[in-house]
Symmetry: C2
Subunit: 296 residues, 2 copies
């Protein structure tokens, strides 16, 4: 018999992910902070539950995808939380991006109830959530992973068990380090070209195919030269993830000077009121610093 | 009638580039600082000339590929240099990576002799030089570019005229900014994973295909986890190029904090006696800083 799914958090990511589970035939009980966000899914056959506790009572696999570490802690460990309703043998899958060490603490608390936990943050954005093509980075026990693989497969394409509890979150943080510093690499190449008066499109055509090449250069640089700062991924969410990165670095005793620099430059972007723009707005920090603007 | 080529600088890049010109049917007159470096090409049909001046006297198109700005200045403007032997209507193509502003000064000096100049630095390394698949970034006049296109095509595949004198050099510097900061992005993702005890290969498999993806991540990270620091491109040459980048930024009044950080971390790599290793040795600077080593 298919797992009964509980789904908590119906934001820009959660709603389409839950829809894909329903399309794959899973019965879904849902809960989210603002009930009106659930209406569309309820009209499509999802069942409302009044609290995370209630969701856990009615489900075998409970998925959480909320904003940050304290939100997940509240949903799992708080009053009326999952831990009050969960049965032995159930699994909590947290697909938010949060602290790896907090994840380990929650996994231990759930284990005391006989329940299992997988951390399974995603990348691929809302387009990947809608298309069911997310990359899912998983931490936790092999048997829980194998049990939940069909659930993951309804939402994503590249699904990797990396290691024990927290390893999925840590991999996501490694991803965010690489993403944000590669963004800086792209932005600095553009700003040098702009200040020197180069033809941007010719410069990009000349360098994008070689050792300078990256997803950021191929996908974000063309938007910048059109002055398109619409969000694929918002600055304020990148900043939340960089705070997790720098928090983990601090816990581990690790220096990450490049990620730290990206975080500082993004602080200045947020200070200019551009936190809701896409991460390509990093270049604006460099533009203001040196009085130049990147144009096509 | 095909251009008579003069070729000055028969190092690890110049020798195979000159050989490809000869294979394409060009008669080549060669000069290099140490004559013994020319012996192989001379046995293959190249003709020795005693000085850059003498090379210029005997050639329609004179190619230079030497180490740094002062070397090119000496070869073109110095005693016994190209400028003393060049005829009106000839073209100097400098394929070294040097200062864009010094390039403009030399182009002006050659123009007074009725000669033209193209700056045409390359990327693709010695393997690209041997295979004739270099990327060539060109600055200078359109007519000179078109005249020399068959010469470039004997040595490279992606050949782009970017703009006026210096634009090829500036594009190469943009390339080096993107390369060195993308290298830092990759190194910081690896060092976080190592300190957290993640399985490196699983982590890389999970992040390399998405928004974190880059040439550096796909090509250099796998070498690092095998502790392979053999040079594709040497640290000391990357540093030479970063000095050009930071010099250009200073002339232009531009802040490049990421490229500057990469340069500083490479200083520490050089201080450890690793300047002849590949640029992936950047990670060693982070490793020593935080007392951790990246392994597969």
């Amino acid at each position: 018999m298919a797992e009964r799914i509980g789904f908590i958090g119906l934001g820009i990511m959660g709603e389409p992910m839950c829809r894909n589970l329903m399309k794959a035939g899973y019965a879904c009980t849902v809960n989210t902070r603002t009930k009106s966000r659930a209406e569309k899914l309820l009209s499509e056959g999802a069942v409302w539950s009044e609290s995370p506790k209630d969701t856990a009572v009615k489900s075998d696999v409970i998925i959480t995808i909320v904003t940050d570490t304290p939100d997940v802690e509240k949903v799992i460990l708080g009053e009326g939380g999952i831990i009050e309703g969960i049965s032995p043998g159930s699994v909590v899958i947290d697909m938010s991006t949060i602290s790896p060490s907090a994840t380990q603490t929650m996994a231990a608390a759930l284990e005391e109830k006989g329940a299992d936990m997988l951390d399974a943050p995603v990348s691929g954005g809302d387009t990947g959530a809608i298309a069911g093509t997310l990359s899912i980075m998983v931490g936790g026990r092999q048997d829980a992973f194998e049990r939940c693989l069909p659930v993951f497969e309804a939402m994503g394409k590249s699904i990797n068990l990396i290691g024990d509890h927290g390893a999925g979150q840590m991999t996501k943080l490694c991803n965010q380090v690489a993403v944000s510093v590669a963004n800086l690499a792209m932005a600095e190449a553009l700003i040098l070209a702009a200040k020197a008066g180069l033809d941007m499109e010719k410069m990009l055509a000349a360098i994008s195919g070689g050792a300078a090449g990256s997803w950021q250069l191929s996908n974000l640089a063309p938007r910048i030269i059109k002055r398109d700062f619409d969000p694929g991924f918002m600055v304020k969410l990148q900043q939340k993830d960089l705070r997790l990165v720098l928090g983990a670095a601090s816990e581990l005793g690790l220096g990450l000077p490049g990620a730290s620099l990206a975080h500082q430059l993004f602080n200045a972007v947020e200070a200019a009121g551009e936190g809701d723009e896409g991460t390509q707005a990093l270049v604006k920090s460099l533009e203001r610093m040196s009085g130049v603007e990147v144009h096509g």
